[in-house]
Amino acid sequence: MGDQWMQFVAAGLTSGAIYTLVALGFSIVHNASHAINFAQGEFVMIGGMAAVSLVAAGLPLAAAVLLAVAVAAVVGLIVEKVAIEPAQKTGRADVVTLIIITIGVALFLRGLAQVLWDKRVHVLPAFSGADPIAVFGATVMPQSLWVLGGTALAVVALGWFFSRTLYGKAMRATAFNPLAAKLMGIDTRGVMRVSFALAAALGALGGVLTAPITFTSYDVGVMLGLKGFAAAMLGGLGSFGGAVAGGLMLGLLESLGAGFVSSAYKDAIAFVVILGVLFFMPGGLVGARRSERV
């Protein structure tokens, strides 16, 4: 029984780590633009698929991983430049319009992937072998440790970036009040671009880390995107601690729910939880109770 628990916890933390990375992407883009970027899941797909292709092209695994994340970041930058920036320049695009544009981007990227690669499922070799390790009574694949470690590293680096660097502070200032930030000389356009690139890189990191476990295909981003959104909302959209807490919690609940309640409804658990939270704890788990300025 105890072993089974540990097994589910390990699996839950692994998938929770990915939801965390996707949720962080949602929060970063939301802070910069107040829009929900429904192409966030597609960045996960691009990361995984690009890494698979680069390895197939003969690159060493480490180089392929880094390059895949970089590719996704560039795609994020292009998306902002080509689709989001022109829409915002006209000044008449409201949040709903921006959401539709990101959905258009998601469809475009998914279609592109389908043409560029194919509709088959691909797999990336595990980073350090496939021999399971026993940890606290649970049998864990080494790749799970890579996922957890990589996510932890990304979260710490992000925390340092937002609290210690000038640019990170500029991004937080822009999130808090774009107009005031602009008046203080912050290049808010640049912040938008960096936000998209950063969100894309985080998503791609998630995609690369999990590609050896869950495999990857052109449409892998759809469900991951939705669950990442749920995780971000669970923690309180825009909050970084919230994204981490929401992601891990969602992963754990999903894994335990699938194990002990019903595996057929595994994908529904995240959404049942989010509905419950929205009904009883509006604002998310860590969402700040702030009063609205009129």
């Binding site: 959905i103 389908q114 959104f229 609205e292």
Partner: protein, 339 residues
């Protein structure tokens, strides 16, 4: 802008709209509305004359059913300013509810349909009540979640729903006769669309419509003049869900077969896209958006593998250059050229 006012009136954004102060204004508004309804009736009646075969009827029925959902959804998105990413869930529940009552328990369709639609209305009320009090993207999240749950339940409960493969739906029987054949269904669905548009046009020019536009502009300002924003938002949310469920039930009994794909997130997104593409806060925009985006895939199929890419690109380009949607933008251009 005397001559142009008539045209731009219907779909201009809430803020740009002037109040119909004098009785002359009121009369002109009335003609704009009845004129539009008359034109729609004319188009609906005249279209079949140009249809060479049943395939055109099928596509037209599909367009009209989508347009019905979109007109309802636009009340929520365009006028109340709330986004729903789960309307396919309501649509599919209307379809499956009526189908299950009729097929598994032998209810006559003229009772199973209304009961299913009413049940969807209750569900929408239960979900909308807590979430519509929240600000921001919460309704989007709640409706998205509901939609995904509905689609998973429909796929999993295969004893009732037939699972991912879908289920056969008994036909609609009215006055002892089976309703079948594309022309007859076209008549029913066309009438349904006309009634929905009529209802929506009346609603937005009623006190409810004015309240909705006010709270879209500024919720705080609307509340200070005594508008119970949560109440009106909830009401229009439930109404749009009822409309979606009705269209769903009609689709099920027309097609004779349904699959859980009708409840998918993608279908919800398609519905929202139709509304925004055609024009938010424009009843005619919703109709045009539904027509264009139902027809577009029929043409894009020639692109085969590139279809999804092309659809995405069309979406991006349209929304970047016509952020308010096709119909309002064209109306503004028309108004400007007349000036």
């Amino acid at each position: 802008m005397p001559a142009a006012a008539n045209v731009s009136e219907r779909a201009s954004p809430p803020s740009a709209r002037s109040a119909p102060a004098s009785s002359g204004w009121g009369r002109r508004l009335a003609t704009a509305r009845t004129g539009g309804l008359g034109a729609l009736a004319l188009v609906l009646v005249a279209l079949p004359l140009a249809f060479p075969n049943n395939y055109f009827f099928e596509v037209a029925i599909l367009v009209a059913l989508n347009a019905i959902v979109c007109v309802g959804l636009n009340l929520l998105i365009g006028y109340a300013g709330q986004i729903s990413l789960g309307h396919a869930g309501f649509y599919a529940l209307g379809a499956y509810g009526s189908a299950i009552l009729a097929a598994r328990w032998g209810w006559p369709v003229w009772t199973s349909g209304p009961v299913a639609v009413a049940a969807v209305g209750v569900l929408a009320w239960l979900v909308g009540r807590p979430t519509l009090r929240l600000k921001g993207h919460y309704l989007a999240m709640a409706t998205l979640g509901l939609g995904v749950i509905v689609s998973i339940v429909l796929s999993n409960e295969d004893r009732l729903t037939g699972g991912p493969d879908g289920m056969a739906v008994p036909p609609l029987v009215l006055f002892g006769r089976v309703v079948q054949g594309e022309p007859l269904w076209y008549t029913i669905v066309g009438l349904g669309l006309w009634l929905t548009v009529w209802f929506a046009l009346n609603l937005i020019d009623s006190p409810i419509g004015r309240a909705l536009r006010a709270l879209h502009g500024s919720e705080v300002a609307a509340e200070t003049v005594g508008i119970d924003s949560a109440k009106w938002k909830l009401r229009v949310f439930v109404q749009s869900a009822l409309i979606a469920a009705t269209a769903g039930a009609l689709t099920a009994h027309y097609a004779g077969f349904i699959t859980p794909a009708k409840a998918s997130f993608l279908h919800s997104v398609e519905l929202v896209i139709m509304v925004v593409f055609g024009g938010m806060a424009s009843i005619w925009g919703a109709v045009v958006g539904a027509a264009v985006l139902t027809l577009l895939p029929q043409f894009l199929t020639v692109l085969k593998d590139y279809e999804m890419m092309a659809f995405g690109a069309v979406l991006i380009v349209t929304m970047v250059f016509f952020p308010r949607g096709i119909v309002p933008t064209l109306q503004r251009l028309l108004a400007r050229s007349r000036r």
